[in-house]
């Protein structure tokens, strides 16, 4: 049966990997191509790059990073952040990305999902959703998790699926950076709302948090950043922990 995926996420700003806490203060960490190659060798099932550059120059740097990564990394990788048009999707796929993540632009123009999936196949269109809990449910947030759209997150993921999304990358704004575990109730609600794979993101602080989200929500994949980047835990340690708890995981063997 299909294995649960363990995904390190690299937030990239102007060519360097950085990591924010609750979407704010950023610290520089390292070279994204090198880090992606290391994670790939270390057993990562997929790599996600999130481009948080605010400038065109930063975006062009990202395209170069994607090209170099495609030459050195032999696992799938996704690139998101600042993808606004069909040309952005095309540029990143041509550079060698396997999938492209679309966030705010899909919210303001859901037809972009239809257009992109019709042209490139839904398997390479990942819709990134940042959600935050309010009294009346979860709202879709944009602009790095700071702006409340007022849109119901569970309704939005269903719309995204209908429009042709291949996967949902779900980040909980409430748990992101807090390291007390993934947002289990939000993740479960989204997994139950759609029939496409969901990647849980936000809040991972230990290997047990992976096991928890896999076992309790039916999610297809889970993503973490700081616990890997800071060397707190390796991908291998996370996978051994999951396998020890009976989670079906890919453990790269003799090869």
């Amino acid at each position: 049966m299909i294995a649960k995926r363990v995904i390190p996420c690299l937030d990239v700003k102007d060519g360097k990997v950085v990591k924010g806490t609750n979407f704010v203060s950023l610290r520089k960490l390292g070279d994204p191509v090198q880090m992606a190659a290391d994670y790939s060798r270390g057993g990562a099932d997929e790599i996600i790059f999130l481009d948080i550059s605010a400038t065109n120059e930063g975006r062009n740097t990202m395209t170069d990073i994607v090209k170099k990564t495609a030459e050195t990394v032999f696992v799938p990788f996704t690139v998101g952040g600042g993808v606004k048009t069909i040309d952005d999707v095309s540029r990143l796929l041509k550079a060698g990305a396997d999938k492209v993540g679309i966030n705010s632009a899909a919210v303001s123009n859901p037809e972009l999902i239809t257009e992109a999936s019709a042209r490139f196949g839904s398997q390479c269109i990942v819709i990134a959703v940042d959600a935050k809990r309010y009294a009346d449910g979860w709202h879709v947030m944009t602009h790095g998790g700071t702006m409340d759209t007022g849109i119901d997150a569970l309704q939005w993921v269903k719309t995204a699926e209908q429009k042709g999304a291949g996967e949902i990358l779900l980040t909980s704004v409430d748990t992101d950076g807090v390291k007390h575990g993934f947002d289990l109730s939000l993740t479960k609600a989204v997994v139950d709302a759609v029939r496409i794979p969901v990647i849980a993101s936000g809040g991972c602080g230990s290997p047990e948090h992976f096991t928890e989200v896999y076992k309790q929500t039916g999610v297809s994949a889970a993503l973490a950043a700081s616990i890997f980047h800071q060397g707190t835990f390796s991908i291998k340690e996370v996978k051994q922990s999951c396998a020890g708890q009976g989670v079906n995981i890919r453990e790269p063997g003799f090869f």
């Binding site: 049966m1 299909i2 294995a3 995926r5 790939s40 099932d45 495609a70 030459e71 032999f74 696992v75 799938p76 796929l93 041509k94 060698g96 396997d98 196949g121 839904s122 398997q123 390479c124 291949g166 996967e167 029939r195 496409i196 794979p197 297809s220 994949a221 890919r250 790269p252 063997g253 090869f255």
Partner: protein, 198 residues
Amino acid sequence: MIAIVDYGMGNVASVSTAFKRLGYETAITDDKQMLHNATHIVLPGVGSFHAAMAEIGGRDLKKTLQKLSETKPFLGICLGMQLLFTEGFEGGFSHGLDILPGSVERMETDYILPHIGWNALAIRGETNPFKRFENEHVYFVHTFAANTEDKFIAATADYGVSVPAIVKKDNIYGIQFHPEKSGEVGIQILKTFLQEEL
């Protein structure tokens, strides 16, 4: 030189990179002379069966590919594997390359589609060149799958149904998953294909 057939369906650079990593020279091409000069033919591809056959038809490559499959080690990857069969139903009915008998149909599984992610291989037969990859995980992304005779199925993966993962008939190989995205295991699977025919 390994020829990677360029017919406008998806990014083929990563397939080329994987072969280069093994020390082989590659050419991404739709030029018939180059295809004839190649030691191996690799047909990659991502997208729909119907659109792919239209592209192959538009480039007048159908007969060329059929002919090449009679004489050279020939590997179809993902959509390229599906195109090897007689017919397909993705994007409406289309004739395939008809190099292997069978049809390509939407998977009938209770699990979510596409079948996306890392799944374990079950290798058939004791003398199978892929035997050492038993239970290794490889990366799949697909919704349609081959329906063919058992004797051509060299490996399967379990996704509620038994999914043909590797098909083989003499010098013709088809791989449903993405070996170029399956880490070191995938690279070694490509190497096995190359060594089988040397």
